[in-house]
Symmetry: C2
Subunit: 233 residues, 2 copies
């Protein structure tokens, strides 16, 4: 009997926002895997740190974040091979995923490689989208409103038309695209209903009206644009 | 000192998918509030039932679900008044919310009424969107893909143009709109990448290719349309 691969969403950062199921799976794990940027500490591991017991085998997947996609894909190949060995020997592997595994999560690349040959269970997590709305006190969508989640790296023209059409917009992966995004929102006269949040639910989180946002933003930052279409709110 | 109102996301239905924080707040609550459709059992209460101790005060908010909005808004007025009394007397109130409180959640109407006068903390929850993706084994979005969440009751022409433009589409509140949605997806030649899920993560959940979906759907049903744009998946 092969082991099961669990892709476990950790939520936005505060360990208290992990699901009960995620916390239990991590506490009981004998093998955990997690992504890290080369040369940095894994954010996923840091969220789960208090639940990882001594003597647990750890697989750190060092994933380069480059525009060129082949290096990251080679890293996923190597990680999948390493995880396969544990699964083949009958051990379960718990893969730690920031946020939700299938929502801009790197776990989907392991899923694509391993779900044909092994049992894989995905445990959904709280995304940074709803965590930011909760922190900012901004209801996202009511009734028949549409919400669109848009990555900041998209070209300006695409951003402009997609933002203009949506009721509520969440701009993800703001990072070095902050100036461009701010320009687009200003052109669309949406700056006043936009809020900037970085490192939501972590001890060093920041939350500001977009107009007061810093010049440079970390990768884990979001802009929420709630146009406030529902007259009852 | 007034009490604090907590709007607590319960996740999609499986109590194991509640956050650690939600479970703790409910376990420690002396007053809980939850919505129910008139004449039915509250789904929110049923998700949290095992955590509600004896002797806890319960406020059932009976919210009519009608096209006309005034009756529901009157019900929120009455519930807000009842909750205010507890808060004024210094008691905390934990309001139970299916999914996430700010994602098509009725909690936002209490928030609008009470957040000016009282401390309100919103605890985000796992949404049915990522729970359905996990169950169906369908990664939602990778890299710079856009995801759009669209309520099924929208008019057909709006649905058509919004679905056509999006990378990944989640159709919520399918219910009695199933035939219309299926027609739109067939016209757009997207039926083959659509999956139908009802009552996700509950014991009686159903998950089918859209082509095999039943003729009638409950309110808590979703269609996921993943166009599979990422060539690495």
């Amino acid at each position: 009997m092969s082991g099961i691969l669990f892709g476990v969403g950790l939520g936005p950062g505060d360990p208290d926002l992990m699901t009960v199921k995620a916390a239990r799976l991590i506490r009981e794990a004998r093998v955990v895997a997690y992504p890290a940027l080369p040369g940095t500490q894994s954010m996923a591991r840091s969220i789960a740190a208090d639940l990882i017991g001594p003597g647990v085998s750890e697989i750190e997947m060092s994933i380069p974040m480059t525009v060129e996609r082949a290096p990251a894909q080679a890293a996923y190949d190597a990680a999948a091979a390493q995880i396969s060995k544990h699964l083949e020997s009958g051990e379960n592997v718990v893969c730690l995923c920031e946020g939700d595994p299938f929502f801009y999560g790197s776990f989907m690349y392991l899923y694509a490689r391993l779900s044909k040959d092994f049992s894989v269970e995905v445990v959904p997590g709280v995304t940074s989208v709803t965590a930011c709305a909760a922190l900012a006190g901004r209801p996202l969508v009511a009734r028949n409103e549409v919400i669109t989640v848009i990555p900041g790296p998209l070209p300006e023209e695409q951003l402009r038309s997609r933002i203009a059409q949506a009721d509520t917009v969440v701009l993800m992966k703001v990072g070095r695209h902050l100036a461009k995004l701010r320009g687009v929102l200003r052109d669309l006269r949406l700056e006043d209903c936009a809020v900037y949040i970085e490192r939501a639910t972590l001890p060093d989180e920041r939350r500001l009206p977009l107009a007061d946002a810093p010049e440079t933003a970390p990768y884990f930052s979001i802009i929420l644009v709630t146009k406030g279409a529902d007259p009852w709110l």
